[in-house]
């Protein structure tokens, strides 16, 4: 079976300390006030005494590297693709023209336009760290080890072990568009269905539906021009000093 890198998360362990969010920002030099990952809240309504309802839940999340990635379909240049080997949804920055089509195409709001690079950005499971044999920054730094990362198809990995052992109770965040996310929560995940609707430009859909080749040609031929134009227009226009530079 092909590899599928994924996260298996125990949301009941999350204390909402934001260590994962901070670690991600530093590891990936995410610009000021932009974020690749998050912690969602639920049930934070005070409940007094023993008779109260369920505990509050804090749900860590990020790009879910979906099996049906609507963002891929929205990308006009092929910069965003689902990696066949590892199952990651990858952004090839060299091809990204910063058009922003993919941003509303993600029902989980995982994507944004990097304010400095002017390219699409999101969680990429920290490939530079993995090349060093390290876990993604958010996983490595987590105080309660709520996030477990790895190949869920590999029963030898911790993620695979958790995935296989808990298959019946694993949950995913539901969205109006089912993108088959690869972020699994053990049991109580807190907010369950906050995902929105994937909004993909109709032109992209039509193009892909009718003549997939056209897209390829357009992408290839227009690529250089678009990339140059994109850089001219966007790069460095209101560039901010990074806080940690």
């Amino acid at each position: 079976m092909a590899r599928q890198l994924a996260m298996v998360i125990d949301a009941t362990k999350c204390i909402d300390c934001k260590a994962c969010v901070a670690a991600c920002k530093v590891a990936n030099k995410v610009p000021e006030d932009q974020w690749r990952n998050w912690i969602k809240h639920e049930n934070e309504v005070p409940r007094v005494g023993a008779a109260g309802g369920g505990k509050a839940r804090f749900q860590p999340g990020a790009c879910m590297h979906c099996d049906n990635p609507t963002c891929v379909a929205a990308c006009p240049t092929g910069a965003t693709y689902k990696d066949a080997e590892n199952g990651e949804v990858v952004i090839n920055e060299g091809l990204c023209i910063g058009c922003g089509n993919c941003i509303p195409a993600c029902p989980y709001g995982a994507r944004f336009r990097n304010a400095e690079k002017r390219k699409a950005d999101k969680c990429n499971y920290c490939p530079e760290r993995r090349a060093h044999g390290l876990e993604p920054a958010c996983v490595d730094t987590c105080p309660t080890k709520a996030r477990v990362f790895g190949d869920i198809n590999d029963p030898q990995s911790e993620a695979g072990r958790l995935y296989l052992a808990n298959k019946d109770r694993l949950k995913r965040v539901a969205a109006l568009t089912d993108t088959k996310p690869n972020m699994y929560y053990l049991g109580d995940l807190g907010p369950e269905a906050w995902g929105g609707e994937a909004v993909v430009p109709a032109s992209m859909v039509a193009m892909k539906q009718s003549a997939p080749l056209i897209k390829g040609i357009v992408a290839l031929s227009g690529l250089g021009v678009l990339a140059m134009l994109g850089r001219q227009l966007l790069a460095g226009s209101d560039h901010k000093e990074d806080g940690d530079a």
């Binding site: 969010v21 901070a22 670690a23 920002k25 505990k55 309660t144 269905a193 993909v200 859909v205 892909k208």
Partner: protein
């Protein structure tokens, strides 16, 4: 999981089917030829080095990644058991601390009035000459004890103590009397030492006066989650706020602030009244059960219910559950106990319940300190016969810790010149202007000084009012002594720090600074060593430790965790756990905690409580560029009921005023706080304009809080201030 497809409109359906079609035709494989255009990312050419974090007091083991001489990432050291291999948001933000554009860059000499912000850059030699000259002048004019020394929590702070002692002053204060000395006092005076809570193995924990899932303490915070999630530990939290700890607890009670002692004494009442304790253990290991039995008769659950606002039946049930889980249960001792004027006695009531549970020195209970094996490096300070006999803060409170002092008592004594004058102040890495209540008084105290030298990494408010400001190095730029740490059952270990990057600007380590000053005062012989030599002496009893430190970033000295006191006597007067404290009796202090109801909140006022969270370490993080993005300002938590009465909406600018000061900040209208209490985070609104993110941002607790202190230890009492809250018209 809801079936989202059922909710799709026709338009959605078109889109969705289009996507599915695209997917069926190959989707991602569509541009397969381009997929390899991006080569697999290369491993960055970083070098890695061990250190210990300094973004709060916990000292978590870390691994720094450095590329081309620049720090790019701080990661947890997985071999560091005390922190359970984690690094929190502040730890990650260490990089923003080191590269903060507002860092002090060179020595600065004050030119205008104190606090005016006019500075002149001077060379280091001139700065050290001046510091030494002024210190010599203070010693000449006011005796050696006429100079005050203050140092915060830091591996090099011991050298401030050494400088003070060889210079001739015993007036040294730490940050601890603005934080936790009353808690240390209470547990020391009950068990003979300050315990470590074995949270990991506990089955039932009462958390009062502590917020472990937000105010992180290693390994307690992580262990608490593991205990709850994997060992079925029950957590009961008492807090006037619905903190994240409260939100994750099995039970939460919004206790009336200042009544925790009534709750604890009622627990004792039930446990003793219903004989729920281990009679043999109590007889063998404790002193004073008879007196305690008599004393707690008056503190029924019904009495406590009226005081605390917690139902009597819940109090009784919790007492029974706690006792049933004993000895693997505890009242969590907590840490910051700078809250009330009787905070030592409040924490004594916590300690006494633990005594009744028989959890001392046992799994899931309170653990004794383990020796790490580091050696002290002795020195022979000269004797100054001309000095006054005692500290300036001596004898105001009966049980101050000699080596910590009391900042609050010291400040009063300095202002009154009683019993003598203090006119010089050397301060390293502590910021009483931001942490001590009643900032106006701290300013007065600073105005009283002939000369103040501050060594810090940033222009803190304390530095802002100094005469000479010397830039110190961050924890990642310097060589530090070894330090022994204990983490509950996790470890007793040694850490050290080595420079991981070249020091920025003209910054110097504190050690070099005090060495330079001492040399100029003809006291150079007391600093006649290098840091490496110092460490070698510290590690003399631990052969091979240095190599292990270099290899793992941490050295463990395995030792017994439980039953340390088997066959040994406790370090108390009675040689037992002192439920009843004999020394207190001798000294005229209540030998058993006597409950006094807290002052009633006056009409139309609120009790102000303060705290921190996992993203804030008081004033030292308010200017951190990364953490600022998480907590851009502090807000005033205000319950919706009084908010409506006062016409205050969420986000409105409000003025908070007390008897000593006023501040403005945004209201956060929330039902996560009692209606008689308001709350704000510490660390915001610095006066120093050289803290761009902290200056003029939010509200300063120090300006509003009243300057009371614990009558036993002199620990600041930060929860005894009443404030009015009014909406500010823009």
């Amino acid at each position: 999981m809801p079936d989202s497809n059922q909710k799709l409109s026709r338009r959605d359906f078109f889109k969705a089917s289009g996507l599915i079609a695209a997917g069926a035709m190959g989707g991602p494989a569509l541009l397969g030829g381009l997929r390899t255009a991006q080569a697999a990312p290369k491993a960055p050419a970083w070098t890695s080095g061990f250190s210990a974090c300094d973004m709060c007091f916990n000292k978590c083991g870390l691994i720094a990644r450095v590329e081309d001489g620049v720090l790019t990432k701080l990661d947890p050291n997985p071999k560091f058991l005390k922190s359970r291999g984690m690094l929190c948001a502040r730890g990650n933000a260490g990089i923003s601390h080191v590269y903060d554009p507002d860092r002090l860059k060179h020595p600065l000499l004050r030119k205008g009035a104190r606090g005016e912000g006019k500075w002149q850059r001077i060379p280091w030699d001139e700065a050290l000459d001046m510091a030494a000259e002024k210190m010599a002048a203070v010693r000449r004019d006011y005796l050696p004890c006429g100079h005050l020394f203050s140092a915060g929590s830091d591996l090099q702070s011991q050298f401030v103590g050494r400088l003070a002692e060889v210079y001739g002053s015993f007036n040294i204060t730490s940050h601890e009397s603005l934080c936790l000395v009353s808690n240390s006092r209470a547990f020391l005076d009950t068990f003979g030492e300050v315990p470590f809570a074995d949270v990991l193995h506990s089955k039932y924990i009462i958390m009062a006066g502590a917020n472990r899932f937000e105010a992180l303490v290693t390994p307690d915070s992580m262990d608490l989650m593991t205990a709850m999630r994997e060992h079925g530990c029950k957590l009961v939290t008492l807090d006037p706020r619905y903190t994240k700890t409260a939100a994750l607890s099995d039970e939460w009670y919004p206790i009336r602030p200042g009544t925790d002692m009534a709750f604890m004494l009622a627990l004792a009442h039930v446990i003793i009244g219903e004989k729920l304790y281990d009679a043999q253990w109590i007889a063998e290991k404790t002193y004073g059960i008879e007196q305690l039995t008599e004393h707690v008769k008056q503190y029924t659950p019904g009495f406590a219910a009226e005081q605390c606002g917690i139902p009597a039946e819940d109090i009784a049930r919790i007492a029974r559950e706690l006792a049933a889980a004993a000895p693997t249960s505890m009242v969590y001792p907590g840490r910051r106990s700078s809250d009330y004027e009787d905070s030592t006695q409040i924490r004594r009531s916590f300690a006494i319940v633990n005594g009744l549970l028989g959890n001392w020195d046992r799994p899931g209970g309170l653990l004794a300190a383990r020796a790490v094996g580091l050696k002290g490096v002795p020195y022979d300070a000269p004797w100054y016969d001309e000095n006054h006999e005692d500290r300036i803060d001596a004898e105001t409170v009966p049980m101050m810790f000699e080596h910590e002092g009391s900042f609050m008592v010291t400040r009063d004594a300095v202002l009154a010149d009683d019993p003598y004058k203090i006119r010089g102040w050397f301060i390293y890495k502590t910021n009483p202007m931001a942490t001590a209540p009643n900032r106006k008084k701290t300013i007065e105290m600073m105005n009283k000084m002939d000369f103040i030298t501050v060594v810090d990494i940033a222009m803190s408010d304390t530095a802002w009012f100094a005469d000479l400001v010397l830039p110190s190095q961050s924890y990642l730029e310097r060589t530090d002594p070894c330090s022994g740490l204990q983490g509950s059952s996790a470890c007793a270990c040694v850490v050290k720090r080595d420079p991981l990057i070249e020091p920025l600007y003209e910054s110097r380590p504190l050690f070099d600074i005090v060495k330079g000053i001492a040399g100029r005062l003809d006291l150079g012989e007391y600093f006649d060593f290098t840091m490496q030599e110092f460490r070698t002496r510290q590690l003399a009893g631990l052969p091979g430790a240095e190599e292990i430190l270099d290899r793992d970033g941490v050295y463990y000295n395995p030792s017994k965790v439980y039953g340390i006191y088997d066959g040994r006597v406790y370090k108390t007067l009675s040689k037992k756990v002192e439920l009843y404290n004999q020394r207190y009796e001798q000294m005229g202090i209540d030998p058993l905690p006597v409950y006094t109801p807290p002052a009633k909140v006056p009409a139309n006022q609120f009790r102000l409580v303060i705290g921190r969270n996992a993203l804030v370490t008081q004033g030292s993080t308010a200017n951190n560029g990364l953490l600022h993005q998480f907590v851009p300002e502090n807000t005033l938590w205000l319950n919706p009921e009084p908010a409506e009465r006062l016409g205050i909406a969420d986000g409105d600018l409000v003025e908070v005023s007390s008897a000593v000061g006023r501040q403005s900040l945004k209201a956060e209208v929330t039902d996560k706080i009692r209606s008689d209490t308001v709350y704000m985070l510490t660390g915001f609104n610095s006066l120093s304009t050289m803290q761009h993110l902290a200056h003029g941002n939010g509200a300063s607790i120090a300006e509003v809080l009243d300057g009371k202190y614990d009558t036993v230890t002199g620990n600041a009492a930060l929860h005894q201030t009443f404030v009015t809250v009014t909406r500010k018209v823009a």
